[in-house]
Each structure stands twice: as C-alpha cells, then as structure tokens.
C-alpha cells in the first residue's frame, strides 16, 4: 500500500489508498438438510488521487498491478470531476472492541452444529419448513493518505438468519441474530419466531381499509430508506429533499428519535472512521420529532459548507464513498412488544415488505407488498394475510405513531413501531 501511495503522491497533490480484505464462511441448511457451504477470501483496493482540484479514481484487487491502478486513476482525471475537498488527517482515533480472534477458529462444522440445534428447536415447536443461514466474517480495512493518515480497522461478525416457511407457500418469517463472536442464538428469539408462526398459520382475508400497522424491524426499511434519502446531503444539495429547509422543525411525532451510532461496539461492525478516513461519531438525525441534522461525505460536506459527519461509505468495491447512514437506529419508546400487539384494534403486524425500492422515495411515499403480515383484531393475532399491499407517506405515517417498542426488538437494532391510519388494499 505504501508503494502505491508514494507513486500516487508523485503524480498528484493528494492521494488515498484503501484496502479491504474479507474472509467469510457460510453454511446453509434448508429444511433440515445441509445444503451449501461456501467460503470467500477477497481483497479490494481503491485508489483516489486529487490533482488540480479534480478526482482520479480506480479499483482493483492486486497490488502487483499498481501501475494499472495508477494508470486508471490518471485516466479518470480526464473527466474533470470536481474534488473540492481535502483528505483528512485523522490521528489518535478511539479504539473500539470490534474483533473477536476466536472467530478465526470457528469452522463450518461448528456452524453446522449450531444450525442443527436451531433446527431441532424450531421443528419441535412448529409445522414450518425451516431454513437457517449462518455466516462468519472477518474484515481488515486500512486507509492511507497523503496527509499522514494511517488507519486500520479489524472486525468480526457472526450472523445467523432463522427462517420459518409456511408449507406450500414459500412465504416466511425470519429473525436475524448478529454478534461479534460465535455464540448460541438467544432462546427468546427463536421462541418468539415459533410463537408468531404458530399464531399466523391460518390465512385470513379482511377487507381493505385504513389500519394500524406494526412495522417490525424486517419491514422498517420501508420507512428508513425514505428517511435516509431525505436527510442525505446529496438530496439536500440538489434540493430534492422535502426536508431541505426544515432543520429544527417538527417533521414527525415527538416519540420519534432517529440517530446514527457507529461507535457502539456492543454490536458488530462498529467504526471509528468511515471509508474516507473521517472520524465517526454518533449523530442525531431527528430528536423527539424535530429534524436536527443531515449526513454527508467529504464531497457534499464541502458543497454544503458543513463539517464532515463521517458517513462516507462504499456500497460496493467499485464505488467511491457515498453518504450512507450505516449504523441507523430508532430510539426505543415505552411499550413492550406484547403491549404494542394488544393495542392493535384492527391492523397488521408487518413482518416483511416487498418492493421497497418502488414508489416516489424522494417524496416519502411508499406502496409495498405484504410479504408476510399477521392480521390482528382487538389485540389478538387472527392469522396471516396474502395478496395485499400497504401504502402511505412517511411524513403522515410517522405523525400517527401510537407507540414505539421499549427496546431494540430481539435480534435487531430497531424497535418495532405502531402507526395508525395506513392504507391497506387486500384482494
């Protein structure tokens, strides 16, 4: 990396080299059968140079091809793409507990045994077909730049998805457990999954109406994507966001607080710096319904004349860092999950929504298919709905919040949220 940086510095005013090395192992169990075992050992290298205020960018996966990387980055300069920012000089950043060395000793046999254990638990309590996907991942990231930044991050994670499938349907419910280390999935998580499944086996066909919707963590991206889009510095800069001039204004119900916390190392993949080497810190986006902040990367921070918030992340190996709320949370409220369900007079527990990318995201509109939805009447789960859609606008829906769950829902980093007055169309 150092050689590449030196070569890049000779042909530019600023240079940055980014390397990510990933080792990943996954085990797939389908209906009790060990179906797939895959491993990956992948490296990606990115090079950015800034010369005369213009950006050069290239990516590859092998330092022996330094010349090609440099050549491609110089070729990128031909486009005259603006780079009105300086790479940071990030020193003495806090260290977080992100890596468990024992992850390197976990093998597929260990994961397979845990999948077996989970399968036995769920199959003894449900009539479901059961799929389990377990993955260990360790990643090393290093960023060097011409301002003497030399940052290193090492992280580990273990993730297991437990899916209960309704026989004959292939529709399903699932829960995800994530940790920095390999450990048994907590019993309450699988217990809840088996309970909700058993209550939702009968198929019901209520009439279309405006209803209460309990957005579960697996369906909350319906709302989260629209919040992220509206508070992203690019949307603000280009004036697409309906929130462009609404800092310090009330946009949601006062129960709603949205924040990003990359430093919380209780959870996997905490970060001290983003993919541009900018220091990360917790950032409140919405506090008690009031819009507080937007988030950016170096480019849009400069364009909006605001401090860099440390949210420049790569979505893919081939992309430059882009503003991303990578550690987004909704602050828990005051009611237990049981109380949320009990509060539903007529509504749906939306376990999973389909087609989140459809609809006018910039405007906050959503119109999503119900992948798995549990119909509730007078606080009792009656059964499961099919062939149905939920539609609304987040600026209306999040102003009709009834309650928010009092903790992050089991296995996730989001609470469930109960909202009123959402349109439901059912065949």
């Amino acid at each position: 990396m150092e050689k590449l940086l030196e070569q890049a510095k000779r042909v530019s005013e600023q240079a940055e080299v980014y390397e990510s090395k990933v080792e990943e192992h996954s085990v797939t169990m389908e209906n009790g059968k060990l179906q797939d075992i895959e491993s990956k050992y992948l490296t990606i290298i990115n090079l950015r140079i800034i010369k005369d205020g213009k950006l050069g960018f290239a990516y590859g996966c092998d330092f022996t091809q330094r010349q090609d990387l440099l050549h491609n980055a110089l070729k990128f300069l031909y486009g005259g793409i603006e780079a009105p920012y300086k790479f940071p000089c990030s020193q003495a950043l806090p260290e977080f507990n992100t890596y468990d060395p024992a992850i390197e000793t976990i093998n597929s046999r260990d994961m397979s045994a845990e999948c077996d254990r989970i399968f036995d638990y769920l199959s003894s309590r449900t009539t479901a077909e059961i799929n389990i996907y377990a993955t260990t991942r360790s990643e090393k990231i290093r960023i060097l730049n011409s301002h003497n930044t030399d940052l290193f991050d090492r992280s580990s994670s273990y993730t297991v998805d437990c899916e209960v499938v309704y026989p004959g349907s292939a529709a399903s419910m699932w829960r995800t457990f994530s940790s920095k280390r390999f450990e048994e999935i907590p019993v309450p998580l699988t217990h809840e999954l088996s309970q909700l499944y058993s209550l939702s086996v009968p198929v019901v066909q209520p009439s279309s109406d405006k209803m209460q919707i309990l957005f579960m963590p697996n369906s909350l991206d319906t709302i989260n994507w629209r919040i992220m889009n509206a508070t992203n510095a690019e949307s603000i800069y280009k004036k697409f966001s309906p929130l462009t001039n609404k800092l310090e204004q009330k946009i949601f119900d006062q129960q709603v607080t949205v924040y990003d916390d990359p430093n919380n190392d209780l959870y996997p993949r905490a970060r001290a710096f983003d993919d541009e080497g900018v220091a990360c810190a917790p950032l409140t986006i919405v506090e008690n319904g009031i819009l507080k902040n937007f988030y950016n990367n170096l480019f849009f921070a400069q364009k909006l004349d605001m401090p860099a918030t440390g949210h420049g992340y790569k979505a893919d190996q081939s992309r430059k860092p882009y503003p991303t709320l990578s550690h987004m949370h909704l602050k828990p409220g005051k009611k237990s999950f049981k109380a949320l369900v009990a509060a539903i007079k007529r509504g749906i527990i939306l376990e999973y929504a389909m087609g989140l990318h459809c609809g006018n995201i910039a405007h906050g509109d959503f119109s999503v298919g119900i992948g798995t939805g549990l119909f509730v009447e007078n606080g009792i789960i009656v059964g499961r709905v099919k062939d149905a859609m939920v539609a609304g606008n987040i600026y209306e829906t999040l102003n009709q919040v009834i309650h928010i769950e009092d903790r992050f829902h089991l296995g996730s980093q989001m609470p469930a949220i109960l909202c009123d007055g959402v349109s439901v169309s059912i065949k």
Partner: protein, 455 residues
C-alpha cells in the same frame, strides 16, 4: 497460459469432481448526475472460484489472490467432506460429456474499439436532451460496459473460455414542480455490441415528455383492478410471478411447494406459455455455456398453463431427475454459481393491442417497470405510470403504481395475450447475488383482479 495455471491448481485435489473458474473483469463506466460528470474510467479485477465434490458433499471457495489457492482447496475439500458426512442423500452431479472450446459473441461494434472520448460525447448528448426542458431538474445517465473473460476447467476434462461483453445505459429523468417530484427510469443495451447504444436520441426525448407528464398525473387509488400490462411490465411480472419458482434450487427443499410444482401441474391460464432461452444472442440474457460448462438451451417452462420444464444446475437436475438446461450462473468471480433465469418470456398470443384494450373495457393500462420482488408465493412489482381505461379508451394518467400478486392465482387470472413479443433491454435479478444478464420479455397481457396499492 491461464489454463495451465488452472490445471496446476487442480492437479493435486483428491476428490470425485472439482471445477475451477477464473474471471478477468474489465469495466468502463461513464456517469452523469445532472450536468455533472461524476465518474469516468476503466478498471479491472479478477479472481477464482473452486468447487469440490467429495464423499457426497459439494462446497465452494472464492478467492482473489492466487497465493490463496492452496488454502482455498483445503477449505473446499474439508467443507465438502463435512457436507457429505451430514447429508442423508449424497450430492450427485448430472453426467455430461467434457466440452472444450472458446467462444466469443458476435458483436455489432465491439465497445473495446471505441474510444472513451467518443463514448463520453454520446452519453453527454443523451444526458443533455432531458436537461433542456424546463421542469426537468436532474438526470442520472450511467453507461456501463462489462467485459468478462471467463475460463473454466474441471476434472472431467472440460476446458472452456467464454467472453461476455455487455453494454448498458441506464437513465433516470427527474422532473419537479414545487414539492411534486417525479421520475422515469429506463435502460438500453445488450450482449451483442455497442450499436444498441447508438441512435437513441428519440427515446430520451420521449422519456423526458413522460417525466413531465407525470407531474400532472394523479396517484392511483388502491384497490383491485383488471389491468392491461404493457410488454415491459408483463415481462417483470413473468420474472417475479413465475420465473423464480422455475429455478429448481428455490423449491428443492420446500416439499409442500415442490409437490405443487410437479411437471404436468396446471399452474396458469390455458392461454399462457412461458419459455427461457439464453441462446437468443441479440438479448442481454445471452450466453453460450453456463458456469458449470453446460451449454444453454431453450426451455419450455410452461405450455398452455401447464408446467413443462424447469431451470437446473447439474446438481438439481439429478435431484429432480429432469434434463439439464444450462442455467447455473454466478454474478462474477466472487460467487459460486446458482440457478438463474437467462431470458424468460411469455410466448405471443393472437390479440392485437386494440383488441386487448376493448377486452379490458374498464380498468387500468399499466406501463413499464419500476422493479419487483418475490417473497414466497407473494410478489410485488411496480409500474412507472399508467392510464385509467374506460370503455376501451385511454383516460387520465396515473402514477405511484405498485401491484401485488400471488403465484397460485395471478397466473390463472391472465385472460388474453397480445401478439407482439418485446424482449426488454433492461435486465437484472437480485436473487442472492446480482445478475445483470438476467432479462425478460413479453407481449402485452390482460390480467384480472390485480391488487394495486395506493392511499
């Protein structure tokens, strides 16, 4: 030279079968966001995927550095042994004859022979077209050219090199009037050369007009409607409603669903026939050999509403005791191959578009796709815009249209099929790993009782 390197890697593996795929990927991209160029240039990456079948277990490892080859083989072998020891039924692969060959697609203008500056000028010309209009506030115009040189060997003696050359232009045009923001997305391109990217000025003009018209369109009201789907939307419907369930690995371990999806089962309307054909070289979904070295072939998936075929890998073909189809594909060197659609389409029927409108009577005419998703028997797909239809006549324009369907019902609710098949130039499928080559087509299709979301 590369084949020799690959042979050396596999030389000492002790197993009943192994294969090794190596890919060099080169891409060239040009991206405009509004008038600003935000990306231009070329890059290359490469890597390997090895699969080992041993004692009835099959495992795979992907790696980018050659020095990790020994570690990868060891891991693949260990994992294959573990799988074999844990499965009641050993993994078997369908028997095939070894294949040797080198394949290059026939191209109408090889994009590698066209300079970056010429491409930039063309893309800038296209990008400028919508920006001339008042109320068009921005664009995304993204040209992406992907050259994949794929090498494949296995321990049965197969040895293949296939180049896949894809040129695609993806565009979004955004219009704004006060707080009302609308957009229209579209794509052009294919797997047979740069010529498909040229001479598309009129398309950009037409799309700009639609983006502006959308500002005056009304949001659709939620409800259940009879609908006429245009070819592009019907193509996505095919992919989401049925295509995924024709992939053998999706239903393989879902016994109740698999029992319903036996060949010979009546799944759809009698009028409905669906084919997957990755040998159509002029379309995005084309390839010669899949990533197990099996030649692609057309597969009649549904005939007159009856299930007649399925898409397979070597493993699932044995599992289902059905013929091989050549549909085991990986996104790139970072992934092991899985069963994927190639070019799936509804076969043409006999009706003119005018006849379909008359047949519809009153309902919705829905146009172009905004993507879709399948979750078990339920699926959703979005239309970019549409029109109310009353007494067979076009009425007001509508927007914000998302549609829900159900595998067991929606295919049976097809009442008529148009006669002109259109294969979409837009492709893509996000099953597990992305696949830009998965494409789809259809004639216009009349379906009753579709659930449309809306406030």
């Amino acid at each position: 030279m590369m084949f020799e390197t690959m042979q050396k890697i596999l030389a000492n593996v002790d197993c009943s079968y192994a294969d090794l795929r190596y890919e060099e990927m080169k891409d060239e991209a040009i991206l405009f966001k509004g008038p600003e160029l935000t990306r231009i240039g070329s890059n290359s990456t490469s890597g390997y995927v090895v699969r080992v079948l041993k004692n009835g277990g099959l495992a795979s490892v992907a790696f980018t550095n050659l020095k990790d080859a020994e570690k990868a083989l060891l891991r693949a072998t260990e994992n294959a042994l573990l799988m074999g020891s844990q499965r009641r039924k050993p993994v078997e692969l369908a028997r095939v004859k070894p294949v040797q060959g080198m394949y290059q697609p026939e191209l109408k203008e090889d994009p590698r022979t066209i300079s970056l500056s010429e491409k930039l000028d063309l893309i800038r010309t296209y990008n400028d077209i919508p920006l001339q209009h008042e109320n068009i506030v921005t664009t995304i115009t993204y040209y992406h050219e992907l050259i994949r040189e794929k090498y494949f060997i296995n321990t049965e003696g197969s040895r293949l090199k296939e180049d896949m050359i894809t040129t695609q232009l993806y565009a979004v045009i955004k219009s704004q009037d006060g707080t009302n923001i609308q957009d229209i997305a579209f794509a052009i391109g294919g797997s047979n050369g740069f010529s498909k990217i040229r001479h598309r000025e009129s398309l950009f003009e037409q799309r700009s007009r639609v983006a502006l018209d959308l500002l005056k369109a009304e949001p659709v009201s939620g409800g259940v409607y009879n609908c006429l789907l245009d070819p592009e939307l019907a193509a996505v419907f095919t992919h989401e409603a049925f295509g995924h369930f024709s992939e053998a690995d999706i239903i393989e371990n879902l016994p109740a669903l698999r029992a319903k999806m036996q060949r010979g089962a009546p799944i759809g309307s009698e009028k409905l026939s669906i084919t997957d054909d990755a040998t159509l070289t002029e379309h995005l979904g084309a390839y010669k050999y899949d990533d197990e070295g099996i030649p692609a072939r057309p597969v009649a998936l549904m005939t007159g509403g009856v299930l007649t075929g399925r898409l397979h890998s070597r493993r699932t073909a044995v599992e289902f005791d059905e013929p091989l189809s050549g549909h085991c594909i990986a996104q790139d060197y970072r992934y092991a191959p899985i069963v994927r659609m190639g070019t799936i389409f509804i076969e043409p029927g006999g009706h003119s578009f005018e006849h379909l409108l008359q047949d519809l009577g009153s309902g919705l005419y829905l146009i172009e796709s905004n993507g879709g998703e399948t979750s078990g028997e339920n699926f959703t797909f979005g239309a970019q815009y549409g029109y109310h239809i009353k007494n067979g006549k076009l009425g007001k324009m509508i927007r914000d249209i998302n549609i829900s369907g159900n595998l067991y019902q929606s295919l049976k609710d097809i009442t008529a099929i148009g006669k002109e098949l259109v294969i979409s130039e837009a492709g893509g499928c996000g099953k597990g790993q992305s696949n830009i080559h998965s494409c789809m087509g259809s004639p216009p299709v009349l379906i009753k009782n579709l659930v449309i979301g809306g406030v």
